[in-house]
């Protein structure tokens, strides 16, 4: 389901003394199955952009197309949109509300009108994707779980709708390193199963590893759009915007500044490791 975003404009608190522009002529096109990262410092309009892509916020001007259909058109079926585009907000564990894990994950499918049988299947499928066992945790109250587990349940609640596009806003904030790895792994697995992923993140290492494309936002505009290698190659530009590149790329850049010729397309740990071993082996 390609998403096409055309010339979006949006201003918060329009006409008030606190008005500020969140989006200023933003456009992009995303193909099926892409894994796209969005980076940019706080307040640059990332969250506004994804809310519009998910049809949760209407732009002042501009259009959003999902599968060629304008999602803000009057006769567009919003229910269909909800099933196709899933959104995981920051700290999704705050959206839990049901008495049991099962019931909470089942909220989406039930609203979509699936049968009991299908709903149950969806629940165990969604929980298994996030690495949980429906038999084991299904009857527990979500509020008894640990922070990391709560988040997994909340994300399972979004996945249960089997969205074709999954939008995530800072999904790994506050997770421990092991939690982060397992989280990124299941996002990758979903992507391999064909789900398009849009992920806002400050975790450049993760994006370097998994994303196929990165959008860089600055002051309400998209200023860069390309593969992680192409984007992180422009490390100085990123630093000017108060951002940075992945750690390996930062190290490579520092080495380069000290006269050691490291190629600009090294952005991952294993690439850097291979390069260093290669150098060490030769000298």
């Amino acid at each position: 389901m390609p998403i096409v975003v055309e010339n979006l404009f949006f201003t918060y608190m329009k006409g008030m003394p606190f008005a500020h522009i969140a989006l200023d002529d933003v456009s992009f096109r995303m193909e099926d199955g892409e894994f796209m990262g969005i980076i940019g410092h706080t307040g640059c309009g990332k969250s506004t952009l994804i809310q519009m892509a998910a049809g949760l916020l209407k732009p002042d001007r501009g259009r959003v197309f999902l599968d060629g259909e304008d999602i803000n058109a009057k006769n567009y079926d919003r229910k269909k949109l909800r099933r196709r585009v899933g959104v995981v907000f920051q700290y999704p564990e705050y959206q839990l509300f049901e008495e049991t894990v099962e019931a909470d994950v089942a909220f989406g499918p039930k609203k979509a009108g699936l049968s009991e049988e299908e709903t149950r299947e969806r629940v165990s499928w969604a929980l298994s994707i996030v690495g949980m066992d429906a038999e084991e945790v299904g009857k527990l109250s979500p509020f008894e779980l640990s922070g990391g587990q709560k988040r997994k349940v909340a994300i399972a609640g979004v996945l249960a709708n089997k969205p074709g596009v999954l939008i995530l806003d800072e999904p790994i904030a506050g997770l421990d390193p092991a939690g982060r790895d397992s989280f990124m792994n299941f996002i990758l697995r979903l992507n391999e199963m064909g789900t398009s992923i849009i992920m806002i993140s400050h975790n450049m290492d993760g994006l370097a590893e998994y994303a196929g494309r990165i959008l860089v936002m600055n002051e309400s505009k998209i200023v860069m759009d390309g593969t992680p290698k192409a984007v992180f190659a422009e490390i100085e530009k990123l630093k000017e915007m108060g951002l940075g590149a992945s750690e390996p790329r930062e190290v490579a850049h520092m080495l380069l500044q000290n006269g050691i010729g490291v190629p600009k397309d090294i952005i991952r740990f294993n690439e850097l490791k291979a390069f260093i071993l290669d150098k060490a082996g030769k000298s």
Partner: protein
């Protein structure tokens, strides 16, 4: 979703009105309200309007934001206007239909009520537009101090008020976020009949309450760890002091009030 929450309608700025002592502003706003209800004549209202216009200009908050403050009460104003117009027991009947009678006294009465309500809203919103919620509670606390002699928990009330005010935007933001998260999962908040609507609120209210309680708990802990133990012996960083301009404002408003009450 949640737009333009006008409860904290403070309009930040630097002006003679902004810089006045909040206590004086509260006192003068109250005095003005009393005057509004004492004035009877047209000329009195013109004078009052001129005064309010002058204060608005001095405060540099824009006439639009003052006029906008009527909006939430527009229904009540229109309702009382109609009620007074047609059901006031006047003598000079102009038109009658069943119980509804249009009398010239009724029209006079209705116009008077509308003017009074409008001016009441204007003067209170001039206060809230130019005074930050924090200053407002500070002023109230200081003005109500004498009540603590009769064991009225003045400080506690003021603290509760400022905490509540402080958290309104936070909770509004949170509501918006949870609403969007649940909508993305397929929840609907604006469809169905009343019972269905109420039930649809559960996915919003449960998380909201949980996080509100959590926040309250954290706030209490943070306050206690900074040795907060109530108002007793607590000093203030910003001590309220009357400045010459406060007395000037008092003088001018007092003179206006005297003229209006005595002459008109």
């Amino acid at each position: 979703m949640i737009k333009n929450i006008t409860l904290g309608q403070y309009f930040p700025g630097e002006s003679a009105v902004h810089n006045m002592d909040p206590r004086m502003k509260i006192i003068l706003a109250l005095a003005l309200i009393v005057v509004v209800f004492l004035v009877e004549s047209l000329f009195g209202f013109i004078l009052l309007a001129a005064f309010i216009a002058l204060v608005t200009i001095m405060a540099r908050v824009g006439a639009a934001s003052v006029i906008r403050s009527i909006r939430p009460l527009l229904f009540i104003i229109v309702f009382t206007f109609i009620l007074n117009m047609f059901f006031y027991n006047g003598q000079t009947v102009l038109w009658q239909w069943g119980a509804a009678r249009l009398t010239s006294e009724g029209i006079y009465r209705a116009v008077l009520i509308v003017l009074r309500l409008t001016f009441l809203i204007f003067s209170t919103s001039l206060l809230t537009l130019t005074t930050s919620p924090m200053q407002l509670t500070d002023g109230m606390e200081s003005l109500m101090k004498p009540l603590s002699r009769i064991r009225f928990p003045v400080h506690e009330m003021a603290m509760m008020m400022s905490i509540a005010l402080r958290f309104i935007p936070t909770l509004a933001e949170e509501t918006d976020r949870i609403m969007k998260a649940q909508m993305a999962r397929g929840a609907e908040f604006d469809s169905g009949n009343l019972i269905k609507k109420a039930r649809n609120m559960v996915p919003l209210l449960v998380p909201l309450f949980i996080s509100a309680f959590k926040r309250a708990d954290e706030l209490a802990l943070a306050m206690e760890s900074r040795c907060y133990k109530g108002g007793e012996g607590r000093t203030k960083m910003k001590i309220l002091r009357y400045a010459p301009r406060d007395f000037m404002a008092l003088g001018i408003t007092g003179a206006l009030a005297a003229i209006l009450v005595v002459v008109f």
